[in-house]
C-alpha cells in the first residue's frame, strides 16, 4: 500500500473521530447536568428590568462582588439617576457579559464594572462558564463565530461532554427528579415580577435564586456564614495578565463610545490583608498595569483599589460576597468616586 494512501486513511480516521466528537458535543448541548440555573433566571429578570422605563441609567455590570456588594437604591438616591444592578456571577466571561448587556444599552447610560481581580489574570479558567452555558444557554455557543466555536469545543473537557451526553440520554428522568429544566423566559419574567410586587425577598434567609433579587437587580438578604477562609487576593500575587481581556475591553469601550454610553471600570471590594499594603511592589505593579491598559483603551477607572479594602467582618460565605454592612460602606465609596468622575468627566484617577 502506498504510504500516501495509508496516511490519507489515517487522517480521514482522525477527521471521522473529530466529527463524531463534535456530533456528541452538539447532542449534549442543553443537557440537564448539575449547573447554576438561577444565573440564567437572574439574567432574564435583569434584562427585563433594564428594558423597562426610559431616561438615563447607571448600569452595574460584573460578578457576585457587585451583585452582593452594591446598593443600587443608594446609588440612585445619591446620584439621582435610575440604577440597575445587572451583575450576576464572576464565572461568566467578559465577552458573554458584554453580549448580554449590549441589547439594553441606551444613549447616555453609564456602565460601571467592578471586575473581580481574577478577570485580569490569564490563569482564570472558565470551566464553570462553559459548563453552565452548555446547560442553560446553548444558544450562546451556536451564535459564536466558527473559530470561537472551535475554541469553545476544545476548551471543554472530554469528561464534561460525556457527562452531558449521558445526561441528555436520561434528560426526562433528570428533569423530573432533579428539577433541572430551563424555564421559559415568559415564566421567569412573570415569577420575577411577582416576587418584586410581593417583595418576596424581604425577611428571608439568603438563597442564590431569583427570589433573592430585588426590583433594582441587587441580591438581598446578604447574611450567611462568616467567611473564615484565606483573605489572600490575586492582586498581591505576581500573576500574568490575560491578553484577550484587553481586546474585549477595548472593543466594548469602543462600542460604548459609539453608542454614547459612558463606561467606567471600578475596583472590587477586597478583604483587607497585610499583603495588600501600599508598599507591596507586586500590588503597585499590578495596579499600574491595569490602570495603564485601561487608559490605553480609553476607559475610565473609579477611585483607588485601597479605598475598597474592607474588614473581614463585612464579608460572608466567600471573600467577595459583602454583607449588608459591607455593601453600605462599599456603595458610599463608589458613589463618591462615581460622582467625581461624572462631574469631572475624568478618565479615572491613577492609584
Amino acid at each position: 500500500m502506498a504510504p500516501i494512501t495509508y496516511l490519507s486513511t489515517f487522517v480521514a480516521a482522525i477527521v471521522g473521530v473529530a466529527g463524531l466528537y463534535i456530533g456528541l458535543f452538539v447532542y449534549q448541548l442543553g443537557a440537564p447536568v448539575t449547573a447554576e440555573y438561577w444565573v440564567h433566571e437572574a439574567k432574564i429578570a435583569k434584562l427585563f428590568l433594564a428594558s423597562q422605563g426610559s431616561g438615563q441609567r447607571v448600569l452595574i455590570l460584573g460578578g457576585s462582588n457587585a451583585l452582593f456588594g452594591i446598593d443600587s437604591g443608594l446609588v440612585e438616591k445619591q446620584i439621582g439617576v435610575r440604577t440597575i444592578n445587572l451583575a450576576i456571577h464572576g464565572g461568566l466571561s467578559l465577552p458573554y457579559m458584554f453580549e448580554y448587556i449590549k441589547p439594553v444599552l441606551r444613549p447616555r447610560d453609564v456602565v460601571v464594572m467592578p471586575l473581580e481581580i481574577e478577570y485580569y489574570a490569564s490563569a482564570y479558567r472558565y470551566d464553570w462558564f462553559r459548563s453552565n452555558i452548555m446547560a442553560w444557554d446553548p444558544g450562546y455557543f451556536r451564535n459564536l463565530e466558527l473559530l470561537e466555536r472551535a475554541r469553545f469545543v476544545l476548551a471543554v473537557p472530554t469528561k464534561r461532554v460525556v457527562n452531558g451526553a449521558i445526561a441528555q440520554m436520561y434528560a426526562a428522568q433528570l428533569r423530573r427528579q432533579r428539577g433541572r429544566a430551563v424555564r421559559d423566559v415568559a415564566v421567569i419574567t412573570r415569577d420575577a415580577i411577582g416576587n418584586w410586587q410581593n417583595r418576596s425577598y424581604v425577611g428571608k434567609p439568603i438563597s442564590y435564586s431569583l427570589e433573592s433579587i430585588d426590583e433594582r437587580g441587587d441580591m438581598r438578604n446578604n447574611r450567611g456564614t462568616r467567611y473564615t477562609g484565606t483573605a489572600s487576593s490575586v492582586l498581591s500575587s505576581p500573576f500574568a495578565f490575560a491578553s484577550d481581556l484587553w481586546v474585549s475591553l477595548e472593543n466594548f469601550g469602543a462600542y460604548c463610545r459609539g453608542h454614547d454610553v459612558t463606561l467606567f471600570v471600578a475596583w472590587p471590594a477586597l478583604m483587607t490583608e497585610p499583603s495588600l499594603n501600599e508598599g507591596n511592589p507586586v500590588v503597585t505593579r499590578n495596579v499600574a498595569h491595569i490602570v495603564s491598559h485601561l487608559a490605553r483603551a480609553r476607559i475610565g477607572i473609579l477611585g483607588r483599589p485601597q479605598d475598597y479594602y474592607l474588614d473581614r467582618v463585612n464579608f460572608f460565605d466567600t471573600k467577595y460576597h459583602l454583607n449588608e454592612e459591607g455593601r453600605a460602606i462599599r456603595t458610599s465609596q463608589l458613589v463618591r468616586d462615581l460622582r467625581d468622575a461624572l462631574r469631572n468627566g475624568a478618565t479615572g484617577p491613577t492609584p
Binding site: 495509508y6 480516521a13 471521522g16 460525556v162 445526561a167
Partner: protein, 523 residues
C-alpha cells in the same frame, strides 16, 4: 515540551519536520544543524537556563574526544588515558553536583545530627541521560570504536530530541552513520507512516492507560506517605497499579521516541520488549530499559570484572552494578534499596541456574507451567520492588509492603480515599445523580486483570509491526522480529484507520488536561 502536549504535536513537530526535509534537499549538514537547534529549543522549553550547561557539556566532551584521538601517537597511551579519566570524572562531578550533592549532604548530616543542605539546586532535565551518552562516547573514542568526529553530527547525537530527556541511551556508532547517510535527509512516506503509527500506539499507552491507572496508585502512595495504615486491597491495588503505570508510561515513551525518530528517517534502538513477559529476573533486565541495562553491563559490570572472577565476585559485581543503577534513577535511599533488591534477585537467579545445571537440568528447555510459574514469580518480585521505587520514603514503602503481606488484615474492602478518587475520576457526575452504583473493588479488579492480560499475552509494538521492527532495532539481532507482524494480517487501510482512531482518542484525552510528565523524565 512534552511529546503528549498540543504545542509539541501541533507546532514543534510539524515545523521541525518540514524544516528538516526542506533543508535536507539542499544541504544535509544544514538540516542536521537545524535538527540540533530544534532539539535545543525543545530542551530549553522547560528551563532555558539549562541550555548553556548542555551546550558546554557537549563542547567539553567533544574537545576531550578530539584530544584523545590526537593522542594516538602517545606510545604508552598515558595522555589518552588521562584525558579519558579526567573527562569521565568531570562528567560524573557535574552529575554528582546537580543530582546527588544534597542527597549525600543530607544523608551525612542525618548521621551526624546536622542539618546540611546546599541552596536549592535545580536538576537540569535529562542530565543523567546526556551524561551517560557522552561517557559512552568517550570510552568508545578511547577504545577506537568511534570513527566520526563531526561537531554538528556529534551535537545532534547528544541533543537529538526524541532521546534527549529520557533515552534510549545511544551509542555513537549507532547514530553517526545514520546522520552521515544522505538518504536520511530525504522525505520518505513510509517513514512518516510507520513513525506516526508507532508514535500513536505510544501516545495511547501514555494518555489512555498510564495516566488512567495512575489514579489508582497515587492515592495509595500519598496515603502511605501521610502515615496512614494501608489495608490489603489498597496495598495490592496501589502496587499493581503503579507497576502498570510505569510499564505503560515507559513503554509509551519508548514507542513515541522511536516513532518520532522514524519520521526523521533515523532508527533508534529498541528499549522495551514486554518486560513483564520475562520468565526470570535476568530475562527481565534484558527487556526493561534495554539500552540502560546494556550501558551498565558494558561500562560498569564488565569493567568491575563481570563474571570472569568466579561466582562470588560476580555476585558482588551484580549487586554493586544494580545499587548504582538504582542510585542513577534518583538521589534517594528508596532507589538504592530498589537497586539492591534487583541485585539480590539477580544473585538468587544465577545461583538457582547454577544449582539446576548441577542437577543436570537443561536450561534451554522449559515447560508451559514452568514458564508461567517463572513469569508469575518474576512479576511479583518486580511489583514488590516497585513499591520502594515509587514510595517517597522507606517508611511509606514498608507501610504498603505490610499491607500487601496482610499485616493489617485481609479484608476485601476499598479504603474511603479510594472510593472518593474513583468517584471523581472514573464516574462522571451525572452517573451519581442517576444513582448508578460504583463498585470500587470490581472496577479495580477488572482494570488490573485486563492490564495483566495485556502485558502477559498481547503482542508488543515490534511484534505488531513485524518486519518493520527490523528498522526499529537494526542493532540488536537477538531481539529483532523478522516475521510478519500482527498488523500485517489486516488490510493496511484498516490498520491506518484504527491507528488514526487511536491517535484521535488520545488527543481527546489531552483536551483541556495538563499533560502529565513521563515518569522517566525525573531521572
Amino acid at each position: 515540551m512534552l511529546f503528549n502536549s498540543f504545542e509539541f504535536l501541533l507546532f514543534f513537530l510539524p515545523v521541525t519536520l518540514v524544516g528538516f526535509f526542506v533543508l535536507g534537499r539542499f544541504q544535509p549538514r544544514v538540516a542536521a544543524a537545524w535538527l540540533t537547534l530544534a532539539s535545543l529549543f525543545f530542551y530549553g522549553w522547560w528551563n532555558p537556563l539549562s541550555v548553556p550547561l548542555l551546550v558546554a557539556s557537549i563542547l567539553f566532551n567533544y574537545i576531550v574526544a578530539r584530544y584523545i584521538v590526537s593522542g594516538g601517537d602517545d606510545l604508552n597511551g598515558r595522555r589518552r588515558k588521562a584525558g579519558l579519566a579526567c573527562a569521565i570524572a568531570a562528567n560524573l562531578l557535574l552529575l554528582g553536583y546537580f543530582k546527588y550533592a544534597n542527597f549525600f549532604l543530607t544523608s551525612a548530616g542525618s548521621v551526624l545530627g546536622a542539618n546540611w543542605r546546599m541552596a536549592d539546586i535545580i536538576l537540569p532535565l535529562g542530565i543523567s541521560f546526556f551524561t551517560f551518552t557522552q561517557i559512552s562516547f568517550l570510552v568508545d573514542t578511547y577504545q577506537g570504536k568511534a570513527r566520526e568526529y563531526d561537531l554538528v553530527h556529534y551535537g545532534l547525537f547528544v541533543t537529538y530530541f526524541p532521546h534527549l530527556i529520557a533515552g534510549p541511551v545511544l551509542h555513537h556508532q549507532q547514530m553517526m552513520p545514520q546522520f552521515a547517510r544522505p538518504a536520511t535527509y530525504r522525505l520518505a512516506g513510509e517513514n512518516i507512516a510507520m513513525g506516526l503509527t508507532i508514535f500513536s500506539l505510544g501516545l495511547f499507552k501514555k494518555v489512555m492507560i498510564a495516566d488512567t491507572v495512575a489514579m489508582f496508585s497515587t492515592p495509595v502512595f500519598d496515603a502511605a506517605a501521610g502515615g496512614a495504615t494501608i489495608g490489603f486491597v489498597a496495598a495490592w491495588g496501589g502496587a499493581l497499579a503503579y507497576a502498570f503505570q510505569i510499564y505503560f508510561d515507559f513503554s509509551g515513551y519508548s514507542d513515541m521516541a522511536i516513532g518520532l525518530s522514524r519520521m526523521f528517517g533515523i532508527a533508534l534502538p529498541l528499549n522495551f520488549n514486554s518486560p513483564y513477559k520475562a520468565v526470570n529476573i535476568i530475562d527481565f533486565w534484558r527487556r526493561w530499559h534495554m539500552t540502560l541495562s546494556r550501558f551498565l553491563r558494558d561500562y560498569l559490570y564488565v569493567p568491575l570484572g563481570g563474571n570472569r572472577r568466579g561466582a562470588a565476585r560476580r555476585h558482588v559485581n551484580l549487586i554493586a552494578t544494580m545499587l548504582l543503577g538504582g542510585l542513577w534513577h534518583g538521589a534517594a535511599w528508596t532507589f538504592v534499596i530498589w537497586g539492591g533488591l534487583h541485585g539480590m534477585y539477580l544473585v538468587v537467579n544465577y545461583a538457582w541456574q547454577a544449582l539446576r545445571r548441577r542437577l543436570g537440568h537443561d536450561l534451554t528447555r522449559s515447560t508451559w507451567p514452568g514458564r508461567h510459574a517463572g513469569r508469575l514469580v518474576t512479576f511479583t518480585a518486580v511489583v514488590a520492588a516497585w513499591v520502594f521505587f515509587r514510595a517517597t520514603s522507606f517508611e511509606a514503602a514498608v507501610r504498603i509492603l505490610k499491607g500487601m503481606a496482610g499485616a493489617n488484615g485481609f479484608r476485601l474492602e476499598a479504603p474511603p480515599y479510594y472510593v472518593e478518587t474513583l468517584q471523581h475520576t472514573v464516574l462522571v457526575p451525572v452517573a451519581i445523580d442517576l444513582g448508578w452504583e460504583l463498585k470500587p473493588l470490581a472496577v479495580l479488579a477488572g482494570l488490573l486483570v485486563v492490564l495483566l492480560m495485556l502485558v502477559w499475552w498481547a503482542p508488543n509494538t515490534q511484534e505488531l509491526m513485524g518486519r518493520f521492527s527490523d528498522a526499529l532495532d537494526p542493532y540488536e539481532r537477538e531481539t529483532s522480529v523478522t516475521r510478519a507482524g500482527w498488523l500485517e494480517r489486516f488490510p493496511p487501510r484498516l490498520v491506518a484507520a484504527v491507528v488514526g482512531v487511536i491517535f484521535a482518542i488520545s488527543l481527546l484525552g489531552l483536551v483541556t488536561e495538563v499533560p502529565s510528565e513521563f515518569i522517566y523524565f525525573q531521572f
